[in-house]
């Protein structure tokens, strides 16, 4: 039952992100969606991921988004001519985009419907590994290289963001 509640929150949140005109509402809907996902991680016996999801995504990344949206202060999307027009009169690019999205959804549905062994319970075969200590051990031994590379990635992103957002001095 909890699964459907959290899944519903995640799906409705994501739908609102895509359909809202006001970016502030989009950001808030995405946060609601993240809370749904966090609940699902708890159901999957990964409490650490659930908490990190809230801390990093909802607590840091989304604050950054909200900050930028408020800073730019353009609440409404520029409603172009074609945006208010009848769906069939929209430009080719948008129609192709919609077709592509639909195609992707159909492909995913097709792939899932042809995969065997989806009926078994997710917790049936193995006991859960939810201890933070075990997570840390694997992260800093088996995934050491990836971890270090990620730290460099973050550093580069930070420098890049500072340079990009800096006002050029004339």
């Amino acid at each position: 039952m909890l699964f459907y509640a959290f899944a519903g929150a995640a799906v409705i949140g994501s739908l609102l992100v895509v359909t809202q005109k006001n970016p502030v509402y989009s950001v808030l809907a995405l946060i609601a969606s993240f809370f749904g996902l966090s609940g699902l991680y708890v159901l999957l016996e990964a409490p650490f991921v659930a908490v990190v999801q809230i801390i990093i995504y909802a607590g840091a990344i989304m604050v950054l988004f909200l900050f930028v949206v408020m800073l730019l202060n353009v609440p409404r999307e520029d409603a172009a001519e074609w945006d208010r027009a009848h769906p069939l009169y929209r430009p080719m690019a948008v129609r192709i985009g919609g077709a592509l999205a639909l195609l992707l959804a159909l492909e995913l549905a097709w792939a899932l419907s042809r995969t065997a062994g989806l009926g078994g319970g997710v917790a049936d075969q193995h006991p859960a590994v939810s201890s933070v200590a075990e997570l840390g051990r694997v992260l800093f031994t088996d995934y050491m290289f990836a971890f270090e590379v990620t730290s460099i990635l973050i550093l580069i992103a930070m420098v890049g963001a500072v340079i990009l957002a800096k006002k050029k001095e004339e």
Binding site: F3, V49, A101, P127, T150
Partner: protein
């Protein structure tokens, strides 16, 4: 819950994110849609990790989150830079290669 439930949910979220990227005309919403797609993938990783009883799924989730953070930082910096030039968030406003 069956693994199939989680995969279907993950697929639905990914499709919603993809639809957002294809259909919306607002740079901020585009970035948010990308976040939805990343999260859909995270869900599948954690669900598979639970099924196979390993921590690898959770660990890859952390890497995805780190990349998402980097992407958001650089993406938003780009958005701010672009907005300074054109006072618009519509990607169609940025069609010229040079200004």
């Amino acid at each position: 819950m069956a693994i199939g439930h989680y995969l279907v949910l993950s697929g639905v979220l990914f499709s919603i994110g993809a639809a957002g990227v294809f259909l919306r005309r607002n740079l901020i919403t585009l970035l948010l849609s990308v976040e939805i797609m990343l999260n859909a993938v995270n869900l599948a990783f954690v669900a598979f990790g639970r099924q196979f009883g390993t921590v690898d799924g959770q660990i890859i989730t952390f890497f995805v989150m780190t990349v998402a953070a980097a992407e958001a930082a650089v993406g938003l910096a780009l958005v701010i830079g672009l907005f300074r030039h054109r006072e618009s968030l519509n990607p169609e406003a940025f069609t010229s290669l040079k200004w």
